[in-house]
């Protein structure tokens, strides 16, 4: 823990100094010894300052200081300073001499360690300090309530490089970090150092702070003195103003001098005067954020932040509101912070979000809290979930980007109570429509028979009529197609019929029926002429018959032979005995030959 328990290092030093001032005047030949440390708790890789103050009543003599060999600490550095002071009391003056020895120690191990007592032997007397208990944490672990680079920067001595020389009044401006990142806090402090008494501050002109967003950290209404020793000369320092600056852009930034008008002197009895002083200008080199920004990183998200999400209540009825809160809190400029937006959640209606900011100052650092509240109304029951949200920030202390994530929030949405009671009857006699009807007392049964179209016979039955019609029409058409013209049939069968008749004639010939034979031969020829040639020979003279055959393209010789066959048949029929057996056989051959010729001539 830095300082004396909870008091910061600088204040602790001031108290030590005040303690020295407040020490009672020492009797002659006496000495006083005290030891203190700036911290009581520190990490193993840190150092502490052991301040040993020895005060003697003699200006020239000094005792023998015995600094022990520390078992648990190594001595890193050693410094020694002396002060002389005069005091008046009881009509006599006295002088005191103060020797301050500062040892910078580093612990050897972690745990509860002890700084051994320091001994002093002065004019034969031995005095010693009390042992000091120190708690050492493991390396790299910051002490609670401070520690780390920020605390170190906070504890940086703004007067380390001040050499006032002979000046009795000095206005000093300081920043705790002259190489901050964009968006990182820089603490600007304005001190008045005085060797004379300061009655009041008549006027203070703060510099313009272009390129920064700033906020007051401390603006004391009363002057609080703090003793400082600069180059061995005691000064009183007064903090006039402390502001937190947040650089808005990278590059070199200059803070102009501040001005102060100071009223010096004591009350009415001592001379009073007015002095005007200006501070030195300050140069700050603002660094851009390092490379490696996450995609979508917002430049305002710089600081040490935490992100939490809550939903209240987590179990509701459908249609009931849920308050979702997304809270970013930590150290940094909350006004530039950009929080993630809640995505659309299926089954949930989200209303517009409201944002509220809260700022506070703790240990010189600007802290903030940004809260986003959003009303969610689930529209369906069941298990819903608010998804995890993430936000990328740049931590200037760790000098790295970090991703802050919230946890997923499960929601349980139950049916609204109103829905369950929707069917409940109302108490008034409202004769509105609806309500459950009374039961029926008569048991009416229904036929379980399946509808006709589910029966296997239904679709075939529907198909039969068109099929029947199609079959009927098909048969009719087929019949028409198969019907043969008798004329054509006779033409086709003419030669066969003639041959059949000639065969019959041969049979008659064999039976010896000569007349019937010739008559049959003549019928074979005339029948052929009628069927095939379309010539009714019975009604024609031989000349007309010959002319008709010639008109059909038959040759003259064929026509002549045909006419002779017909004439011979007529002659044999009407002049019996004229035909002998060989002549009859020849007649068959001639008739057959002439029919063949006719058939070839007209198919």
């Amino acid at each position: 823990m830095r300082g004396s328990e909870v008091i910061p290092r600088r204040t602790g030093n001031a108290l030590c100094a005040l303690l020295l001032v407040a020490l009672p005047a020492l009797a002659a030949g006496e000495a006083m010894l005290s030891a203190s440390t700036d911290v009581r708790e520190l990490p193993l890789d840190d150092t502490l300052v052991l301040r040993i103050t020895a005060k003697f009543a003699s200006r020239d003599e000094s005792g023998e200081l015995d600094i022990p060999v520390f078992a648990d600490f190594d001595v890193v550095s050693r410094a020694r300073s002396e002060q002389m002071s005069f005091s008046f009391g009881g009509g006599a003056s006295s002088m005191a001499r103060t020797v301050i020895t500062e040892l910078t120690l580093t612990p050897k191990r972690a745990g509860d360690l002890t700084i051994e007592p320091v001994k002093l032997e002065y004019r034969g007397k031995k005095i010693q300090t009390e042992p000091i208990a120190i708690h050492v944490l493991p390396a790299g672990q910051a002490a609670p309530g401070g520690g780390g680079p920020d605390a170190r920067a906070d504890a940086a001595d703004p007067f380390a490089d001040v050499h006032p020389g002979q000046r009795d009044l000095l206005l000093r401006a300081a920043v705790d970090d002259d190489h901050p990142f964009v968006g990182q806090q820089v603490t600007y402090s304005l001190f008045l150092l005085a060797r004379t008494n300061v009655s009041s501050i008549e006027k203070l002109v703060s510099p313009r702070l272009d390129g920064f967003w700033s906020v007051d950290v401390e603006a004391p209404q009363q002057l609080v003195p703090e003793q400082r020793i600069l180059d061995g000369v005691p000064y009183t320092s007064y903090l006039l103003r402390r502001r937190a600056l947040f650089p808005l852009r990278a590059g070199r930034a200059t803070i102009d001098p501040a001005e102060v008008q100071v009223l010096t002197g004591f009350g009415m009895l001592f001379s009073r005067g007015t002095s005007r002083r200006s501070s030195q200008p300050l140069q700050i080199e603002v660094q851009p954020l390092p490379p490696g920004k996450p995609p979508g990183f917002d430049a305002g998200n710089v600081g040490q932040w935490t992100l939490t999400a809550t939903a209240d209540p987590a179990a509701v009825g459908v249609g009931q509101p849920i308050t979702f809160r997304l809270v970013a809190s930590g150290r940094g400029n909350v006004r530039d912070l950009r929080l993630p937006k809640l995505p659309e959640i299926p089954g949930v209606r989200a209303y517009d979000a409201t944002t509220s900011d809260k700022e506070s100052i703790e240990r010189g650092r600007v802290n903030g809290t940004r809260t986003i509240e959003q009303l969610l109304v689930p529209e369906r029951t069941g298990a819903l979930e608010i998804p995890a949200l993430s936000m990328d920030v740049f931590d200037p202390v760790l000098k790295q980007y970090r991703t802050l994530k919230t946890e997923r929030i499960p929601l349980r949405v139950t049916p609204a109570e109103g829905a369950q009671a929707a069917a409940a009857s109302v108490s008034q006699n409202l004769l509105s429509a609806g309500g459950v009807r009374p039961i029926r007392l008569r048991l009416s049964t229904v036929d379980r028979a399946a509808p006709p179209w589910t029966q296997p016979w239904f679709w075939p039955l529907l198909g039969i009529p068109p099929f029947g019609v199609a079959v009927g029409l098909g048969f009719a058409g087929l019949r028409r197609l198969l019907q043969i013209d008798p004329g054509e049939k006779r033409v086709k069968l003419a030669r066969g019929a003639a041959a059949k008749r000639l065969k019959g004639a041969r049979a008659l010939l064999q039976r010896g029926e000569a007349l019937a034979f010739y008559a049959e031969v003549a019928r074979a020829v005339t029948g052929y002429l009628l069927d095939k040639q379309g010539i009714a020979a019975a009604g024609l003279t031989r000349e007309e018959l010959a002319a008709a055959l010639r008109a059909r393209g038959h040759g003259e010789e064929t026509v002549r032979r045909l006419v002779r066959v017909l004439d011979d048949c007529d002659r044999a029929r009407f002049a019996p005995g004229s035909g002998e057996a060989p002549a009859r056989e020849a007649m068959l051959g001639r008739a057959d030959q002439v029919l063949n010729e006719l058939d070839r001539g007209r198919a």
Binding site: V318, G382, A423, I439, L441, L443, T445, P451, W453, V469
Partner: protein, 263 residues
């Protein structure tokens, strides 16, 4: 003679009439569990009656079982699409349903049309379709083969028009029946609808008792259900009951009152 008439009347009464009367008496006296058991017993005996289903639905509703009530009102409408009591009671149940669907119906109004056409006489329209269809084709055949007068042509056109009308009515009834065969009702008080047929699947939404769904598929003890607005998910099979009564379209007849033990 009087005895003979009484015997004839008794023979004309449907089976289970006495048990139905007992169940109604139990209902009216407030003994709802006994009434429910009696109604269920009648169903397990194979009695199919819209009145029985309507009364059983009313008994379940009085006991706060909205899902089972909706199921039996739907069954009554399946058996008799024109049952006004069942329709009114079903509307009453739906009015208090937890689930409210958003979005247009996905079937484009086919279910509405089917519902409108379903009360039309399905059996009569099927028979009329067969007769008119056959007559129309017979007249057409006669006219084509032998020719015919103007009256034959008019009769043919009239028969075809009548057959078309009967076909439309039959289609409506068939569509309604087809939809009804896949209709289901959520009987569990609340059940998560998952992306797959497994308990480990992600739950997309919840459905509650009384909501009507279409059952598309069944696998591994789960049923794939689709809501009217297209929301689809898998739910445990016992949580959704098909509207088709047991014994219809191949469904086994219930032999016990297992439904009474469901949540």
């Amino acid at each position: 003679m009087t005895l003979l008439l009484a015997l004839l009347v008794a023979a004309a009464e449907p089976p289970g009439t006495q048990l139905f009367a007992d169940a109604n008496a139990a209902f009216l006296s407030g003994d709802l569990s006994r009434a429910t058991a009696a109604y269920e017993a009648l169903i397990s005996e194979g009695v199919t009656s819209p009145a029985l289903e309507t009364n059983l639905g009313a008994a379940w509703l009085r006991q706060g079982k909205r899902g089972l009530a909706a199921l039996h009102f739907e069954r009554a409408l399946f058996l008799d699409p024109g049952d006004e009591d069942a329709r009114a009671n079903l509307l009453e149940v739906r009015r208090g349903n937890v689930d409210r669907l958003e979005g247009e119906p996905e079937d484009g109004g086919a279910e509405t049309l089917a519902r409108l056409l379903a009360p039309l006489p399905a059996h009569a329209s099927g028979i009329a379709l067969v007769i008119l269809w056959a007559a129309a084709w017979a007249l057409l055949g006669v006219r084509a083969l032998r020719g015919g007068s103007r009256w034959v042509s008019l009769a043919t056109a009239g028969c075809f028009a009548g057959a078309a009308l009967a076909a439309l009515v039959s289609w409506g009834a068939a569509a309604g029946r087809r939809i009804a065969m896949h209709r289901g009702v959520v009987v569990a008080q609340s059940v998560p609808a998952r992306e797959g047929p497994a308990e480990k699947s992600v739950s997309r939404f919840e459905v509650h008792e009384g909501t009507t769904v279409q059952v598309d598929d069944e696998d591994s003890g789960f049923r794939r259900v689709k809501l009217a607005n297209g929301l689809t998910g898998w739910v445990p099979a016992p949580s959704v009951e098909l509207v088709v009564p047991p014994g219809w379209a191949g469904r086994p007849v219930l032999t016990g009152s297992a439904r009474a033990e469901r949540p």
